[in-house]
Subunit: 285 residues, 2 copies
């Protein structure tokens, strides 16, 4: 990798991830241009150079990236599926939209890969949020001061297994397991809503602040493009997991982005939750 | 099957299914004794002969079944997982509880099979709710007046596929798919809560009363004991599916219990939803 990477075009949806990426670029002195997707991107992104585009204004986005001298793009943040009939594409958008719509019927993954291919075809390198955030992915083993007990790891490993299997079906990235029972599986509602739902289940099914049990597992879909859509946790994830009575949170080491690692550790330690990175199984070379 | 089956011991949890079974026994002149599980069984069941027991009073339940001359039992209705530490077992309960707790850690299916084995060991035949309800399972093809379009069937078949795969993992029985996208997967929250969640997703992801799309699919877990835990729909299911903007509901023919078939058809026709039974694949003899 070059010591001075070129200007990054950050295509920003909602949530905290684009903000974390922008701050990281700033800290590293890397030039940044933010494409704020209208209706999704957070207003905190306004402090960096950028412009707002509708999500089907692909010609406008490509022109702006070129004008700003971007050499790479990073797609990050949440974007809800549009009602394709209501999109207002520009000329370039209209030419690629049919292919995007066709991909969308095959699931989130196909849709994402199709969108990436549009940028790649224009010569942009695609960088993953995890590449840019550097070391801020989940390390193997215990993060923070609380180590999971063997029983707790059994719940976490089952949650990761269910999340992986659900991912194979392009359903989602997360699951909650408590005492061996699958309490919830994440689909389009997202992790936060799933955790809130667990907090509303009968008290006998789950843990509590006084007696924590169960785990949230987040795993990437096997077919997921890790450059764009790697699972993410932040302090809010830890807080909602705590409110659901869970004992901890885990993911696959190197395959879960930590938004503000120090704050995650502080929150988990304070609320009494473990955060665990399951080592990737060794694969033959 | 004997023309005059013996007295049925109905072990009744919550929901409408035990009530439907009791009414069916009454209509057929079959003697019935209802074991109302404390905290779960609906008070509408009080009009039939029966008694209330805590769910760990297994000795008391077996004694009552014997005293009343029951020859068969049917377990029906919903029971949330207990906090085993808080159960108050009687003597017999205390002797079988360790095995039940061990089974419970392996999932709902293992728990259910273990409980059934306790009744079978005492010489009771176990009858499925669908056996007793006779023809009130989903027939193949269209039920009611609305036939699904080809596109709609694609969503339904994907929902059934996801439900079956989720069932293999002992997660749950139901899923909602709209335009090829998995909107929700059911775990411990149940079908009603899942449908309410879909109704709360962004409007662009789902249908509406004016433009219905998407389907609820309910399929039995492959490892599920169909005698006890076959999937069920009722008018409330249809109403909640309608509120979620769905175009229809479906299951595997013969593998979905209809609670009050006529009312389901009337509700679906009135709200504009199809109800579809997917034929079981032919299997080699």
């Amino acid at each position: 990798m070059s010591a001075t990477p070129g200007t990054l075009g950050l295509i920003a949806g909602g949530g905290a991830l684009p903000h974390a990426i922008a701050r990281r670029c700033e800290a590293e002195g890397r030039a940044l241009f933010v494409v704020r997707l209208d209706g999704f991107a957070d207003h905190h992104l306004d402090r960096w150079p950028g412009a707002t585009f509708g999500m089907a204004e692909i010609g406008g986005i490509l022109k702006a990236l070129k004008r700003e001298g971007c050499t790479a793009v990073c797609l990050a943040g949440t974007v809800s599926r549009p009602d394709f009939k209501r999109l207002k594409p520009d000329l370039k958008g209209a030419s690629v939209l049919p292919g995007i719509i066709a991909a969308a019927t095959k699931g989130d993954d196909a849709l994402l890969r199709k969108i990436l291919s549009v940028f790649e075809a224009e010569g942009y390198a695609v960088e993953g949020a995890d590449d840019i955030l550097g070391g801020d992915t989940l390390p193997a083993g215990t993060l923070g001061t609380i180590t999971p007990l063997t029983d707790q790891l059994a719940d976490l490993r089952k949650a990761l297994h269910v999340a992986e299997k659900a991912g194979e079906l392009d359903i989602g990235q997360g699951a909650v397991v408590c005492d061996g029972l699958v309490l919830a599986v994440e689909a389009q509602e997202g992790t936060d809503a799933m955790l809130s739902r667990v907090a509303g289940l009968p008290a006998d099914l789950r843990g509590s602040a006084a007696s924590r049990k169960g785990a949230l597992g987040k795993a990437p879909k096997p077919i997921q493009d890790l450059r764009v859509d790697m699972p993410v946790i932040g302090t809010r994830t830890v807080e909602l997991a705590a409110a659901a009575g869970l004992a901890g949170i885990g993911g696959v080491a190197g395959r879960l982005i930590l938004i503000d690692r120090d704050a995650i550790v502080e929150t988990a330690d304070r609320l009494g939750l473990y955060v665990w990175g399951e080592p990737l199984p060794e694969t033959a070379p």
